[in-house]
């Protein structure tokens, strides 16, 4: 992935677009209960549903990739940390995602469900207070951004 350092700025732009989209959709669909055993309707709606599900998994993958980018921020080009903090304000975006928790939903039976390994699973009560894998990636990204010397200086 080192050869990506020249194009990493474009990847950050892409991740920013996806995460903003995730925030917007989560705020919009906050009250909607999720149907776990979804039967896709026929025609256009089927493709739109499939598209929405795929987009959601893409957006969560972006969180993992962003954590990798923040891990290697020291090796990246000079302007990248400025872009992440000043231009896009990623700390605000990450905090909003931790607050909204898009990876948790309520299903039609009022059970709490969690998105792990590309599918929704019912969350047992014993794991309610446990930090989710995606949430851990968000916290680690924030930690990496705060721990970065360039960012602290500015």
């Amino acid at each position: 992935m080192d050869e990506l350092s020249e194009s990493i700025s474009e990847l950050v732009d892409y991740i920013h677009r996806k995460l903003i989209n995730l925030i917007n959709k989560t705020m919009k669909n906050k009250e909607i209960k999720y149907e776990m055993l979804k039967v896709y309707k026929e025609g256009k709606e089927e493709w739109l549903d499939r598209y929405e599900d795929t987009e959601f998994s893409i957006e969560l993958m972006c969180i993992n990739i962003f954590r990798y980018i923040t891990d290697n921020l020291k090796k990246s080009a000079m302007g990248l940390s400025y872009k992440i903090i000043e231009e896009y304000d990623f700390i605000e975006i990450l905090c909003t995602l931790i607050d909204l928790k898009p990876y948790f939903r309520i299903n039609t039976k009022d059970q709490k469900i969690v998105y792990t390994n590309n599918k929704w699973e019912i969350l047992p009560k014993s794991e309610f207070n446990r930090v989710n894998k995606t949430e851990a990636q968000l916290w680690l990204s924030i930690l990496n951004l705060f721990a970065n010397e360039d960012i602290r200086k500015n």
Partner: protein, 77 residues
Amino acid sequence: MQAHQSAKGGHDEFVVDNVNRESKSIILLHNLLLIEHVKHNLFNDLINALVESPTSIRGNTFISNESVILNFLEILC
């Protein structure tokens, strides 16, 4: 898609080595951005075309292509 499967399975190091050695992750990134652009601009036309001539493999490829490339990049991380 085969490269993604091999990298995901972790049993064929040749794929990951080759991508790293030949700097192919840049090509993957450019493909990713191109697919996003196509989806964004031609989405309604493509969905209408899929509804009119439903070929599930073509439709699924169109929808999941971006996800496959991004997951491949994630594995390379």
